[in-house]
Point group: C2
Chain length 365, copies 2
Amino acid sequence: MTGTSKTLLEAYNNSAHPLTGHSPRTIEVLTKALAAWDPETESDIYGTGRVISQFESKLASYLGKPSAVFFPSGTMAQQIALRIWCDEKGSRKAAYHPLCHLEIHEEDGLKELHGIEPVLLADKDRLITLEDVKSLPEDTACLLLELPQREIGGQLPDYEELEAISTYCRKRKIRIHMDGARLYEILPYYGKTAAEVCSLFDSVYVSMYKGVGGVAGAILAGDETFTKQSKVWKRRHGGDLISLYPYILSSEYYFDERVARMGTYYEGAKELAAMFNQCHGVSTVPQIPVSNMFHVHLKGTKETLEPLLLRINEETGIGFTTRLWEVTPSSCYFEVSIGDRYTAVPKERLYEAFRKLHEAMEKAV
Amino acid sequence: MTGTSKTLLEAYNNSAHPLTGHSPRTIEVLTKALAAWDPETESDIYGTGRVISQFESKLASYLGKPSAVFFPSGTMAQQIALRIWCDEKGSRKAAYHPLCHLEIHEEDGLKELHGIEPVLLADKDRLITLEDVKSLPEDTACLLLELPQREIGGQLPDYEELEAISTYCRKRKIRIHMDGARLYEILPYYGKTAAEVCSLFDSVYVSMYKGVGGVAGAILAGDETFTKQSKVWKRRHGGDLISLYPYILSSEYYFDERVARMGTYYEGAKELAAMFNQCHGVSTVPQIPVSNMFHVHLKGTKETLEPLLLRINEETGIGFTTRLWEVTPSSCYFEVSIGDRYTAVPKERLYEAFRKLHEAMEKAV
């Protein structure tokens, strides 16, 4: 017990060695990026202007798609992608995983704004397989695949299965959309370029603030017909702002800085997951990460585990997480995403924290 | 003729004395505002955190409403306001002016996303009157009034008529929503506080980048029940970004700086409109402005007027406008919005430009 009423979040934010992410989410993230640009750089204006069109071209090229559109959020971009594919087919059916972002984090925007009826594929705790996809109703307009599947620790299908799913969808005229919120992060594991993975999809969304660490924003890419329609829907959603440059310029700055580091984050995730898996009562999902992220599952109640993690934080300066989620009455989990911070953590401190975690877990559970 | 192929926009952007707006739309607008904040200021996170909640409280108080929500755009905020009022009444009918922003600038988002059927009130070239409002179908959920009515030069009803419309709507259980994109700008003319004008409305949208001159963003205000629902819709629209602080901090900075200057902008608009009205073949709508804005109507074709304005720009450094819109085959108009720049324009240059405009118009039309 720490003897204080500090929360995990407070302790994490004040810890000398937080393990996850890039840096605190302060306004310095933006000011640092803006300082790299000429102050006389002209704002984008309602989706036009050099600042936005250059970055859109750059990302279209990176993703190997003819065209790309900058959006303020992935929520907006993905609903719009699914709407376009549903309208194309004249169907209201789009298929995705039961723990898809659109299903659990968007207040049912897809249903309420677009009248789209999702077809939920697979069980909550596993990936969508080719077999699942083969069960899709004939009038399904679109399949959304999230790579990696975040809510189950960032799992990925084998690349061969992904190819088979894509081939099947194209044969059956089912559009295939990628939720690539963490696309950059999986490229080292697949050993593919972004363009190679994207070639399996008709439309792709990538995030500019997760692994890249920008302020906010998203890119939606596909062919010209698709992106042209997406701009109309962007305006309808209220996303065609007079100026999106705060997000665009910070996206470009951190994209240039961090995309090349994804391999380092991936190696860090594997190293760190192995340390968790050596502790009593602790295991990771996936056991061996396939991106920069994984989930840490711990035996024990929140009441037992929180003070335990707080004490290790206080004694070693290592911040494991900002929060615990209860899985069952006697187990919890938290999410780890490796960014710039991990390589700066002194190894001896890290080993000390893991020794303490192992010992404390042995005593506690 | 200038002998060059410069466009009005290019000439305006390079002119020594542009008449309208505050400053060029460069990224310096943002960096200047951010420099006023501690770099360690924490980002808002999905609509929570001090940065967003403090500004929302400040604007709620300014507008005299119990609650306010920061939105990335007015397009998003206003569709949502109308949706909430329509759902409350179980009706799909919302009434507004034929030149309402939702009708002409939003790609029919209100219809396509929310299934709302607008009731168009009044003719295109005049304000909505109490008589128009009395003709509304019984099942109208909501009336949107834009103060001032931008597309007709920024006209305003008498305050007594506004009060009568509000009283009528409340008696008939028709919700009344303000498109207050330029609310601050009309307060000097009405001689009222924002809270006094807003008290006539159930919900209010104000812009953070027009008169205020922020980067982008909007506030939607009303009672707690209303704003709580608006946050759910904001997430559905994809507007609940992980970080909105670039817009919030710049909004607050320029709000603090400029709201007190609205009287100066209004006086400038009246002065400038009088100069236009003294020129041959030129008149303003309204003749005497009631805010910082007005429209300038000029006899003559675009082909006649563009080189004429370019020449005056070149000779005097005065930039009148970035663009001409054709009204009829033989008349054009442009919009004027007075901001910080106007007071810095040397008066002798201004008078010279107007002498030249008068003379050129006498020759040309």
